[in-house]
């Protein structure tokens, strides 16, 4: 599928299931690739405009939630064409596999967050720090 043309993926706005966000502004659902091999679960999340410093990843009670905040710059000049809107990102997943929470790694490159969740047998709630590249 080398010559396949990219289809436009319009951003879908989301409302979080539990409570509103404290920060105003729209939240969008980022596009995600999830793949799995024998050892780990790998997530790739498209969050253009988000720096690695502004990503929050939380895994507790089997729910992985990802929040990405865009650096809001004051719009200059006059808008001529607006095909996409900018805003923060939110998405959560229920992780059914038993994941070794101590060994979760996250990195962010060019607006793509890569999360690697190694499989294991124990599950303890933990906040996950982000490595910025």
């Amino acid at each position: 599928m080398a010559e396949q043309e990219i289809q436009v993926h319009e951003k879908m706005q989301v409302n979080p299931p539990e409570g509103e966000f404290t920060r105003e502004g729209p939240y969008f659902t980022p596009a995600v690739d999830i793949c799995e091999n024998e050892k780990e679960l790998i997530l790739k999340v498209d969050m253009p405009g988000v720096n690695g410093k502004n990503v929050e990843i939380d895994l507790r009670d089997g729910v992985l939630s990802i929040v990405g905040k865009v650096a809001e710059a004051a719009p200059e000049g006059q808008e001529l064409l607006t095909e996409y809107r900018t805003g923060n990102y939110f998405r959560s997943f229920r992780i059914t596999d038993v994941v070794d929470q101590e060994k979760i790694t996250a990195s962010m490159t060019d607006g793509v967050l890569t999360l690697v969740l190694p499989k294991s047998h124990k599950a303890v709630p933990r906040k996950i720090p982000i490595a910025t590249t």
């Binding site: 043309e5 990219i6 498209d46 000049g77 064409l81 607006t82 095909e83 607006g111 793509v112």
Partner: protein, 152 residues
């Protein structure tokens, strides 16, 4: 290649605002199970572009996360900016199975015609956090001129 011309000026920004208002009204009135979409579907071309007019320059932005810069090609001619590139699909390792595949991959090309001619030499482009920002200065000859009136 499909050409898309942008229009500026107050009536257009007002129409854009109206379109957004109508879209949010439509989605507010539609049950969540219904597929929602814009009442005014625009181009279905990747990447979606935002264009702003700073007076002396145009700023075109596009969200293309995870691009390699060598796979992106920009061309400017007179009043037209052409974008071309390929977003490669992730490499599949041994014994990997996909659960979800939402991130688009493939080739894209798109060109956009700006209201005025731009100075191709002065065009700058940056790519940060997956956002491409192209700044195109308006050609001197296309800038409006101030003419001073001398008293006779």
């Amino acid at each position: 290649m499909f050409r898309w011309t942008v229009h500026g000026g107050p009536p257009w920004s007002e129409l854009n605002r109206l379109r957004r208002e109508m879209d949010s009204l439509l989605s507010a009135l539609t049950p969540e199970t219904w597929p929602t979409g814009s009442l005014w579907p625009q181009t279905r071309l990747f990447p979606l572009l935002n264009v702003r007019d700073l007076g002396e320059a145009y700023v075109v932005t596009a969200e293309i996360p995870g691009m390699k810069l060598e796979d992106l090609e920009l061309k400017v001619e007179a009043d037209t900016l052409a974008l071309k590139g390929e977003r490669k699909s992730p490499e599949l390792g041994e014994g990997v199975s996909f659960h979800r595949r939402e991130r688009a991959s493939g080739t894209f090309q798109r060109s956009i015609t700006l209201p005025r001619r731009v100075d191709a030499e002065g065009v700058t482009a940056t790519y940060k956090d997956g956002v491409l920002i192209v700044t195109l200065p308006v050609e001197k000859a296309a800038m409006p001129k101030q003419i001073s009136v001398e008293a006779g």
